[in-house]
């Protein structure tokens, strides 16, 4: 196929967009970290960073928190994934629910509720103290961050690992079983190594997310970690503080490192199976004892995973919740407050995330088409650029935007770009683009080129074919991409905190954060949280249905 000049122009436009809103801001951040202020190169800021013991401590704490979270998340996720994929087990639907529930609640929203349930004078500790005279420091300092993040992010490992396990050919396991392996040995020597790529992908994602997270530590009042330090330096000392940029460079380096590392790890070994997509391994039966253990484990996890949801719901309905196991009086007043005061924020969320998701699917569809259907030189570069966005911490991009676009005025008297709502759309669109792109790519892969050729043979031009044939056929994937971009953007907090300059411009996620910052705001904040969670839950459900509807041959999952 010869490349249509129009398509080349679209490719260039997309590349320009990515360079302007992804590459330049990040480069500006990195440049500032290495610049001596007069255009020269210096490592002085890094050595200054190394000399501040607080920074060394924050660095160590961030590594510790991210590492421990990965460890604990593994402990929760691996048994769950193995159970559902390998055993005849009626609780599978429960496990799937487990895998989605935490993701619909932004970690920082859950954190506030967790404090009331597991904190110093939280429900659990009040009961424990009453019964046994002891309290558990579950939410003290770094423990709290680890606890909250583990419950929030373990699904990444669960989902990736489940998908990988489902892909293992049964013959491998049968061969191992014929050779006498069973139980733990079978799992350790055969199944787990084969599922390793899925595990590594999930684990590295968890590591990055936790390492970069800003909202959770802030809500829990933990400041001796890297992301909060960067935020505090930049907001209280100012955009000129070089240490903030040094932290950003470290965050970026770790994110890219963790991601690149996981790719390298997967590539290094040959994980290809002889016959892929063959018969799935027959599901084994559980002994009664094992069934008991399995349900016990799942039940316990479900209770833990549901606790932030329950907590936030109770909080949103409680008039006074102070030093008691459960709130005393229930009220709907907080919802009334939210609807009276914060309609604008709810609307803003729809507006920003809607526009961002639109931009994402438009660009995603275009890139998918360019990569899969044209011979445009350098087309893979677009795909790679977008993938880089996945590894960019929101905090870094936010700081990059503030720095790069400082003083940029919108035309027609629209004011400063950084003070307008467009900045949210841009920031959300860039960071959520990878999700939309994956969806669009997957959708286009399923459209056979023969259909397009048929359309062209019938006299349709390139554009007409795209508009009338390709896009309608991709619609399921495009919609799923839209919804995924939308809901992940709606739950975003790191960039949002940085970019919000006016309250009337704030989206819901900032609104929740803001409510949590006032003495009597816990209730309304929780109410807004419940609304946000319902919205995201609904979106997730819709996107799952869309994916299921558009690819009837697939059994869902893998997302």
């Amino acid at each position: 196929m010869r490349t249509h000049p129009g398509i080349a122009a679209v490719a260039v436009a997309i590349a320009a967009f990515l360079v302007a809103f992804l590459v330049i801001p990040v480069v500006a951040v990195v440049y500032t970290a290495f610049s001596d202020g007069h255009g020269g190169f210096t490592l002085a800021h890094f050595s200054a960073f190394g000399e501040i013991s607080l920074m060394r401590e924050s660095f160590a704490n961030s590594l510790y928190v991210a590492g421990t979270t990965v460890g604990l998340a593994t402990l929760i996720a691996v048994p769950l994934a193995y159970l559902t994929v390998r055993f005849q087990f009626r609780g599978a639907i429960l496990v799937q629910t487990l895998g989605v529930l935490p993701l619909v609640m932004p970690a920082f929203v859950g954190a506030a509720a967790m404090q009331l349930l597991f904190g110093r004078s939280g429900s659990v500790n009040l009961i424990l103290k009453d019964a046994f005279g002891v309290t558990l420091p579950l939410m003290e300092g770094l423990n709290g961050v680890i606890f909250v993040e583990t419950l929030h992010y373990f699904p990444f490992i669960l989902l990736n690992l489940s998908a990988a396990l489902a892909n293992i050919d049964s013959s491998m396991e049968e061969a191992a079983q014929n050779l006498g392996a069973s139980g733990w040995r079978l799992f350790r020597k055969v199944v787990f190594p084969l599922a390793m790529p899925g595990y590594v992908a999930g684990a590295s994602l968890v590591f990055i997310k936790v390492f970069d997270d800003l909202g959770t530590p802030l809500v829990l009042n933990v400041t001796n970690m890297l992301a909060p330090q960067a935020y505090l330096r930049v907001t209280s000392i100012g955009l000129e503080d070089p240490i903030g940029y040094v932290i950003c460079v470290i965050l970026v380096a770790f994110s890219i490192g963790a991601m690149g590392g996981s790719w390298w790890f997967v590539k290094r070994r040959d994980y290809a199976l002889v016959s892929r997509g063959g018969v799935q391994a027959p599901k084994r039966r559980l002994t009664p004892w094992q069934t008991f253990l399995a349900y016990g484990w799942i039940g316990a996890m479900l209770l833990l995973v549901l606790s932030p949801h329950l907590g936030i719901l109770l909080l949103s309905l409680s008039k006074v919740w102070s030093f008691t196991v459960l709130p005393e009086q229930l009220t709907f007043a907080h919802y009334a407050t939210v609807f009276a005061e914060s309609k604008q924020m709810i609307w803003n969320t729809f507006l920003y995330c809607g526009f961002a998701a639109l931009v994402d699917v438009a660009i995603g569809t275009a890139i998918a088409y360019i990569v899969l259907r044209t011979q445009l030189p350098g087309r893979q570069l677009l795909d790679h650029l977008v993938t880089v966005a996945l590894a960019m911490p929101g905090l870094v991009l936010g700081i990059g935007y503030l720095r790069t676009f400082k003083g940029v005025e919108l035309p027609f008297g629209g004011g400063a770009l950084t003070a307008s709502w467009l900045i949210f759309v841009l920031a959300y669109a860039v960071r959520r683009l990878p999700y939309a792109l994956r969806s669009c790519m997957a959708a286009l892969t399923q459209v056979h080129p023969a259909l397009e050729e048929a359309a062209e043979n019938l006299g349709a031009g390139r554009w007409r074919t795209i508009r009338r044939v390709v896009v309608p056929l991709m619609m399921g994937g495009i919609l799923a991409g839209f919804v995924t971009s939308f809901i992940t953007a709606a739950a975003e907090i790191s960039e949002t905190i940085l970019l919000t300059s006016r309250e009337s411009m704030a989206p819901m996620s900032y609104g929740i954060y803001l409510y949590f910052q006032s003495v009597l705001g816990r209730g309304p904040g929780a109410a807004l949280g419940v609304i946000a969670v319902s919205l995201v839950a609904l979106g997730t459900y819709v996107s799952h249905r869309l994916v299921a509807a558009s690819s009837p041959h697939q059994s869902g999952g893998g997302k």
């Binding site: 202020g37 210096t42 800021h45 200054a48 000399e51 501040i52 013991s53 607080l54 401590e57 404090q115 009331l116 904190g119 110093r120 004078s121 300092g141 802030l218 009042n221 400041t223 001796n224 909060p228 907001t235 209280s236 000392i237 100012g238 955009l239 000129e240 503080d241 070089p242 008039k319 006074v320 919740w321 102070s322 030093f323 008691t324 005061e341 604008q344 803003n348 507006l351 400082k406 003083g407 008297g413 629209g414 004011g415 400063a416 307008s420 709502w421 467009l422 300059s501 006016r502 309250e503 009337s504 411009m505 803001l514 409510y515 910052q517 006032s518 003495v519 009597l520 705001g521 816990r522």
Partner: protein
């Protein structure tokens, strides 16, 4: 064919929030949503042609924000508790001279001028600092109700207090500075370090303290009065007292120089000082002390009235002194307390344990340990040192200065850490 669609899009865009209203009053404030929402609503009802935009930032971030905006596009109003924040702003030439407002507002409360003598900012409400506690928490843990700061240094409160960091919260800085001025540098730090050592947490924002007390995470918190009063008046199981070493200090409001719409900004400021604007302060969920004495007639019984001589403010707050050493106090607190809180608490625990073990016997080691923990690593003379103060005020882009500053801070941190470690050693070996 496309034009109707484009027109619809243009229309949709025009309805979006960025459309600049005729006059927008942008208010940078550290105040909680209850206050800002009440004022926004009331003001917009009064002046329908104006719109109020709230920029909620903690005081330090607010200053940084104003500083970074170009003249002409700056926000209109700065509204916060800490007087030193306004000093910082006015010395950076970021405030417009507006003089005193409503003549019914007295010039002084106690010995403290309500309005800036130089006319750059005005007092909008009065605030005292005090202690707030959760009555259920105290009962459950058998703790006596505190009356004074000095009560909080007692071992019985170990692990039950909470305070914020002055670097993150302007109001906490005021509390710290009030204690330092009321008790003197050495004794003030001794008290403060003991209080911090008894604290369960050093919270990131001043609001984190009342929030934690409200929901029972902490027993007692050091807070600005309205946090305590508003919670109590809204039905939370909490109490609030003013200790005798407190200063009644105005929370201020100022017009930013180089703001977009100065007139509207001024209108907002005048409104907050009018009878109507002052009366808003009495709302249950706000519970602040008005600067306009006549408003107290409408207040419910028992409402504290600083003009009635009920609150005994022993300290005459010197805001010049406070401003001159602002960075040193803040940084010292962070290096010695905020970032070393774990070590500080461990040292105090070792001392408490040793005390229990010794059963009231005198011990030189124990005294030495206590001294190590409760002495600031910077003495009063050093804190007033011109060179040191200049170092902390230097521009952030000056790489040399920021490096030198980092070095000084690092020395403090290292010394504090070593002192705490030594104290643990001494206390556990005390005979």
């Amino acid at each position: 064919m496309k034009s109707p669609r484009i027109r619809a899009l243009a229309l949709a865009l025009a309805c979006l929030p960025f459309a600049a209203a005729a006059d927008t009053v942008t208010v940078v404030t550290s105040f909680p949503k209850e206050i800002t929402t009440a004022y926004k609503k009331a003001y917009e009802a009064r002046y329908p042609q104006d719109k109020v935009e709230i920029l909620n930032k903690n005081t330090a971030a607010g200053i940084a924000y104003v500083r970074e905006q170009a003249a002409g596009s700056r926000p209109e109003v700065f509204w916060a508790s800490a007087p030193d924040a306004f000093e910082v702003l006015s010395s950076s030439k970021l405030l417009a001279k507006i003089g005193p407002g409503n003549p019914a507002i007295p010039a002084k409360v106690g010995n403290y001028p309500v309005n800036d003598p130089e006319g750059y900012y005005r007092g909008q409400a009065l605030a005292g600092y005090g202690l707030m506690w959760n009555t259920r928490y105290l009962k459950a843990n058998n703790l006596p109700e505190p009356k004074e700061w000095a009560d909080l240094v007692k071992p019985v409160y170990f692990g039950h207090l909470a305070i914020s960091s002055p670097s993150r919260s302007g109001t906490t800085h005021l509390t710290v500075e009030t204690i330092l001025q009321g008790e003197g540098w050495t004794k003030g730090w001794e008290q403060m370090l003991a209080i911090c050592a008894n604290s369960a947490a050093i919270t990131e924002r001043s609001f984190g303290v009342p929030d934690g007390v409200n929901n029972g995470q902490f027993g007692i918190g050091l807070v600005i009065d309205f946090f305590g009063l508003a919670a109590k008046n809204s039905g939370m199981p909490v109490e609030f007292v003013y200790p005798s070493v407190t200063a009644i200090v105005p929370a201020n409001i100022a017009l930013i120089d180089g703001a977009k719409s100065k007139d509207a900004g001024m209108r907002f400021i005048e409104y907050t000082l009018s009878e109507e604007g002052q009366t808003l302060l009495l709302q249950k969920d706000i519970s602040r002390l008005p600067v306009l004495p006549s408003v107290y007639a409408k207040a419910p019984a028992g409402y504290p009235n600083p003009f009635g001589g009920k609150i005994q403010a022993k300290v005459n707050f010197d805001s010049n002194l406070s401003e001159s050493r602002y960075y040193v106090v803040v940084s010292l607190f962070d290096q010695q307390v905020t970032f070393r809180h774990k070590e500080l608490v461990a040292a105090m625990k070792a001392i408490n344990d040793a005390e229990k073990r010794l059963g009231g016997r005198k011990s030189a080691q124990l005294d030495e340990a206590r001294k190590l923990v409760l002495t600031p690593v910077v003495d009063e003379k050093q804190a007033a040192d011109k060179q040191l103060l200049a170092l902390f005020k230097a521009k952030k882009t000056d790489a040399e200065a920021s490096k030198a500053k980092a070095k000084v801070e690092e020395e403090w941190a290292a010394k504090a850490k070593a002192n705490y470690a030594k104290a643990v050693e001494l206390a556990s070996g005390a005979k």
